[in-house]
Subunit: 418 residues, 2 copies
């Protein structure tokens, strides 16, 4: 949680940190400012002291929403710095950053560097700043183990409420999609039809998904997945927009809406087969669902997350599938890890990969996905079930948005002629 | 244009470059890959040679859409590298990056670093990579002057077509908003009403804007502006969601939709007053419109863009307003610069600030905004007119999406009782 940041800084021997970039789609900045449309901002915090947000004057109203100590960039005469640097933009930026750090009392020690932003500009600026402030050492951290990823790993109730709200958006949209698909007319060749009798494509469904998410004022990363047949068998294929929607094929629908501006996410997957399922598909789905339920029955407080990845691999290998346990980067079978934390990052701590440390646990306050799956692109099928779960302070695991797991969705206006 | 990259690398004495991050919301990566949902990718290009895209195996279908030479990360045994690095994630990442660079024949010289991505992870990784490959010098560039910003400055016809398509989305949505607002019922106190007779808020209008943009499958950055009254007088205030929509107040509507996944933008602003305008507002609007037209009449091929900022400042100072020409960071009057390039970045070269160089010109192929404005937050009013224009190869300036400039929008069901 945010309150851990000072202790994390101490543990990493960081005297201060600096976060660059916009307050949107920039998790460390969003975490500290709460969002708002503040572009090209800078946030500096000395250990044990209040953070300050440096911002462009035109965005003062948005900056004020952060509740942080505010310092406008106009305090620093950029035109004079550009002259002094003889027009060298990176040097001028470094000179301004030096003034900002000095204003915050950061003149020596180790300074962590964070933010999602233009790598080139910041790398170039820091190269020059190091020469201007030789008593500072700028430090980067591994993405999955930074002080922010550590602090963000456990959520407070307000954060869980925001994730839960996105869960409600998700299941509302998924319900609308299911209702829409099962209401379609069906051609003799089992292709679904639009109301104008044209063939329904994956692209048509993508448009409706985007629209229904937008109705909630939420944001839908364009990498969301609604794919059918072979594409459903490739875990991260978003779906071929021209594929026709047909009965009896596996559909993987993986959707992770976020609060507008890059806030908290929810992550969710269902696998469907419209009208009927082939026996082979039904059997593979049943394996995924059996494992999914088995995991839910076994999740336990403070157990390392990778323990359940091991469990999933062993289960699937017992059914004859390849898994990462004994195959390097499999492309068939169970090809990914069981889950990940969800918050301001769609993928964050704790991670469940077999190589991860025992410290990535189902600790109270973490919010994780459980998403076992099976993939057979050559057979034209794929399967995944995913919910987002909160490890409550009382140790119970709670699915943050309930939704049925049905594989075969009966068509309202179609009857099998077989 | 993209074809200039090798020459730009040569001019900057870059032997290679490396781009980090996702293929979405990451202009250099999108520029080179064409988009597609490829997360945590790396792209390496040696000067004069073909670029290669390194990608996670699960995203092979998305990576293939780029048409680039493809190398899956699975070629490198990350588990072995993690062991070799004794679990130091940043060192393991640096060791993998070394193998990737060596595979591309990049073993000495200057390497440009680009991309919008996690600063901490890349800064930390590069610190270690420098020690592993001391013959390489990693180089950052100023954001507004990088080889990418230079290459992107002039667009080919295919890029202009994509921007024009976003222009059509924009004007379609703006037309719907105008039609919706002018169709509303109006209360005696001049507040607009929803169909359920509740007062119409700025937030209600924001929701409709988001929905109508989503209908086109486009993306709307959450910093879009639809604001009324005082907020319209603060150029980058997105609008207070609880403000009531009223007649006779200035509305600034600044909208910049992009292709889904962070592609090409269009940038557009209109200022409206519903039902009627106060004489003071009408007079200020007329000044902005007169200057806007005057600029259009005077734009000329290859003239430095800042020349027109100078023209705008002189015009507004002649009318008694503060401008950046003689006031440092004004908060009233004309408070920003005239325009900017538009492409994969909402703000890119050429820039029009008075401090910018003469090389930022209206060269053939650039796409720029022209957006004069006046801001008086204390008077509760603001004004801006903005279109996106293409400098055609024949030297003509073309507005890429036509839309009327009317300030007062007559209400369909309201008649003044005055």
């Amino acid at each position: 949680m945010k309150s851990e940041l000072d202790a994390l800084m101490q543990a990493r021997n960081l005297d201060a940190f600096i976060v660059f970039g916009n307050a949107e789609h920039n998790p460390p900045m969003t975490y500290l400012t709460g969002g708002g449309h503040v572009s090209h901002a800078t946030l500096i915090k000395k250990r044990g002291e209040e953070a300050a947000l440096f911002f462009g004057d035109m965005e003062r109203d948005e900056a004020a929403k952060s509740g942080l100590k505010l310092i406008p960039y106009s305090k620093y005469d950029m035109n004079a710095l550009i002259k002094k640097s003889k027009g060298n933009g990176l040097l001028a930026a470094a000179m301004r950053c030096q003034l900002m750090l000095e204003d915050m009392g950061v003149t020596s020690g180790r300074v962590g560097v964070y933010g999602t932003y233009d790598l080139s500009a910041i790398f170039g600026m820091l190269s020059r700043l190091k020469k201007l402030m030789p008593a500072l050492k700028f430090v980067g951290e591994a993405r999955e183990d930074s002080i922010f990823m550590r602090a963000m790993e456990t959520k407070d109730e307000a954060e869980v409420a925001r994730i839960r709200r996105m869960g409600k958006v998700t299941t509302d949209v998924v319900g609308k999609v299911a209702d829409f698909l099962t209401s379609c007319d069906v051609r003799d060749d089992e292709v679904l039809l639009n109301v104008d009798s044209s063939a329904l494509t994956v692209g048509d469904v993508h448009s409706k998904i985007r629209l229904w998410v937008a109705e909630h004022g939420a944001e839908l990363p364009s990498g969301f997945i609604f794919s059918i047949g072979r594409d459903a068998g490739v875990p991260h294929s978003v779906g071929n927009l021209t594929d026709l929607m047909k009965l009896g094929q596996t559909i993987v629908f993986d959707i992770y809406p976020a609060e507008a501006g890059g806030g908290y996410y929810y992550d969710f997957t269902r696998t469907w087969s419209l009208g009927y399922a082939t026996p082979e598909a039904q059997a593979l789905f049943d394996q995924v669902k059996e494992l999914y339920d088995h995991l839910n029955d076994n999740f336990d407080l403070n157990v390392p997350f990778k323990h359940y990845q091991q469990m999933a691999c062993e289960y699937f290998e017992g059914k004859g599938h390849q898994t990462p346990l004994h195959t390097n980067a499999p492309v068939e079978g169970y090809v990914h890890s069981l889950g990940h934390g969800v918050g301001l990052n769609i993928h964050e701590r704790p991670f469940s990969g077999l190589m991860n440390g025992d410290d990535q646990r189902l600790a109270p306050g973490v919010v994780v996905t459980s998403e076992p799956g099976l993939y057979y692109p050559e057979k034209g099928m794929g399967f995944r079930i995913e919910d987002t779960l909160w490890v409550r302070p009382d140790g119970r695991m709670e699915i943050l948005a309930e939704y049925p797991y049905d594989f075969v969705l009966p068509m309202k206006k179609w009857v099998s002629k077989k």
